[in-house]
Amino acid sequence: MLSNIYLILKREFSMKIRNKMFWMMALLGPFMLAAIMIVPVGLNMKSADHKIIEILDLNRLKKEEVNIHKYFTNTEEVSYVFMNGLPEDIKDIFLNKGTHDALMVTQAYPSTAAAQFYSKSSISQKLLEKTEASMLNYQKDVLLFKKANLTSDAIQDFNSRYAIKNIFVNNNAYQNVFESTASSIGLTAGILIYVFILLFGIQVMRGVMEEKSSRILEVMLISVKPFELMMGKILGIGLTSLLQFGMWVGISSSISYAIKSYFKLEMYSNQNIGNTLKFVNDSSQAMDINRLMTALGQINLPYILVIFLVFFILAYLLYSAMFAAIGAAVDSETDTQQFVLPITIPLLVAFLLAQNIINNPDGTMAFWLSMVPITSPIVMMLRLPFGVPVWQLIVSLSLLLGAFAAITYLSSKIFRIGILMYGKKVTLKELGKWMYY
């Protein structure tokens, strides 16, 4: 029995990798993958909410002298609020009671000490730069106002010495980076499982239909059991899907390695962080890198990858068994719709609820959807980067394994009857009957 499954598996595998489609997918896939990862990030950027930044200017100039309001323009993204009072009081209120996102305190001329930028929530790099640039322009004009006959050399000197010190005052900032990193890892893993289930599940279905319509099955069944035929096919195509996945990962990481080494962007190793910090005089950039590193440090990528692969394989097996049964039951592609839709709906539902699950990865809904075998592979991926207790993983995997065994058993019954049934329009009710034959 095993030798037959092995022979069938080997044939499926070698036929698939001989196909041009396989290699096209292998080359195009990484770009799709990149798109999948970039689109949510892009969406996140757009949806970043409105920030309110407090400005405390210790120069305390009159409007007629240098009007600070001119330098900071409010946009959709940000509003600036100008404060008056003692720096200690303002800071105290901002940190302990205030609801605003950041506070910038500038020193009075002639001090060249760095302006202090306190932030409680994550401020985008773009916004940070915009605010810093506004502040620099303002400071320059203050300088010009105080010393009207300033040489251009002195202005140059000012630019190089002036800096803004970026201070994060609580964990929220880290937390936000962590959350967005975790959710994009979860989403990517979920989308990969979804894409591969559909892509290769449908290949299993098509393969069975092709064999059915080419009438090879009767020739095969003389020496092969329907179950062996089904499993050989599922495993063979599953192996190609793993190879395909490996190639995607390999190709996309070589591309990103190439890009990184071309632009010398090797900022994510510890050693390089130190070097970066030495060379970057803009401390905010160094902080950013630091933040990302901290956030990534909380996410155990190899662990996630292992769990991902286990769910990926089981989810593929479960769904492709169903797809194989559909392929056996129908005669033509158009008849497949009524069966494929009910199968894919749970997967779609998992995605529609993705945002809720990410917002509340330990909530009741997230928990149950990550236990039910038809949605668990995707929902568990969404939850995984946020940390899932081991017992939940074990329960979820056991349920998935059990569902796989049950579905394979029922599918093989449908498969056995379907493959020699021609010209009959099959309904769901009919399929139900076949399970009890």
Binding site: N4, M15, S214, R215, V219, M220, I222, S223
Partner: protein, 301 residues
């Protein structure tokens, strides 16, 4: 008896496909399974090949029930032919042979033997799809017998072949019999049955309505008809009906029906006395075609 079926029945939902079929198929013979469309022939073949399980009854090979270990002793050519269209001829046949229990080396050895024998050795590396229908049929035939089975089941083996290739296949079938194999043929071509088969079984609406040795069956359907050819005029013969009497190239052909009380010798003596010069005498047994139609019609009434 190499193959025996005992009270084999099979139903599909409300439809009866086979009803208590008893059948003994002797080894070293060519057996014809006949019957009108929808009689249950394909179902019976699928049960023998264990593609379907019977609802009741037993199938024994040399006295043992069929199992996955003795399944490779069967070769089956289904009526609906099928091959992997995108595979090469050679790799496809090796693959199927391996699934039937041959090692890779054995499979390759047999492949070479059969490709050469059926004169398609030059097509080993061609894609199946690119071959003509007749050549695909040859590949299909090789797929059936490449693992050297003891029982070969052929459903309409000659369809799609030109007369030369049909003869090639006929010779292979006869050779298999000579080598001690059992060949089961299901066909509507009665002339092939006449030519090849030793034993027949007639299936109608899931029931076996006739079975046995072909010659014995023919004798039992005999109407005591004789064809006599000769020169001269034949007039009335006593106790004997002349069915046909015509001349062709100076040769008179008589088809006569003799009463049971008489022998053919009596008739010949009468003719010779009348001055008829006898050249040829042969008993006219009914054709399988005629027996088929007669049996089905009487059964229908």
């Amino acid at each position: 008896m190499v193959l025996s079926l005992q009270k084999v029945s099979k139903n599909f939902q409300q439809m009866v496909a086979l009803q208590e079929v008893d059948l003994e198929i002797p080894s070293n013979s060519i057996f014809a399974l006949l019957g009108p469309n929808g009689a249950g022939k394909t179902t019976l073949l699928r049960i023998i090949t264990a593609i379907f399980a019977p609802d009741s009854g037993k199938i024994l090979f040399n006295g043992k029930p069929i199992s996955s270990t003795n399944k490779p002793i069967i070769g089956y050519l289904p009526e609906e032919r099928g091959l992997y269209k995108k595979m090469k001829v050679g790799e496809q046949l090796v693959y199927l042979a391996q699934l039937r229990g041959l090692s890779f080396d054995e499979a390759n050895k047999n492949l070479k033997h059969w490709l050469t024998k059926l004169d398609i050795a030059d097509r080993e590396f061609h894609i199946v799809e690119s071959l003509s229908k007749g050549l695909q049929q040859k590949v299909q035939f090789i797929a059936t017998i490449i693992h050297n089975p003891d029982i070969v089941i052929l459903d309409e083996p000659f369809s799609g072949f030109d007369p030369i290739n049909a003869q090639l296949i006929k010779n292979e079938i006869l050779e298999m019999k000579k080598n001690g194999k059992t060949v089961i043929i299901s066909t509507h071509r009665m002339e092939s049955v006449e030519e090849l088969c030793d034993e027949i079984a007639l299936l109608h609406k899931g029931k076996l309505i006739l079975r046995g040795n072909k010659e014995t069956i023919k004798k039992s359907f005999s109407k005591n008809q004789y064809l006599i050819k000769g020169i001269g005029e034949a007039s009335v013969i006593k106790d004997c009906a002349i069915i046909e009497n015509y001349k062709q190239n100076n040769l008179t052909k008589l088809l006569i029906n003799i009463n049971e009380s008489q022998s053919v010798n009596d008739v010949l003596l009468t003719l010779i006395h009348q001055g008829f010069q006898v050249h040829f005498v042969e008993e006219q047994l009914p054709s399988m075609h005629a027996i088929f139609i007669e049996k089905i019609n009487t059964y229908a009434q």
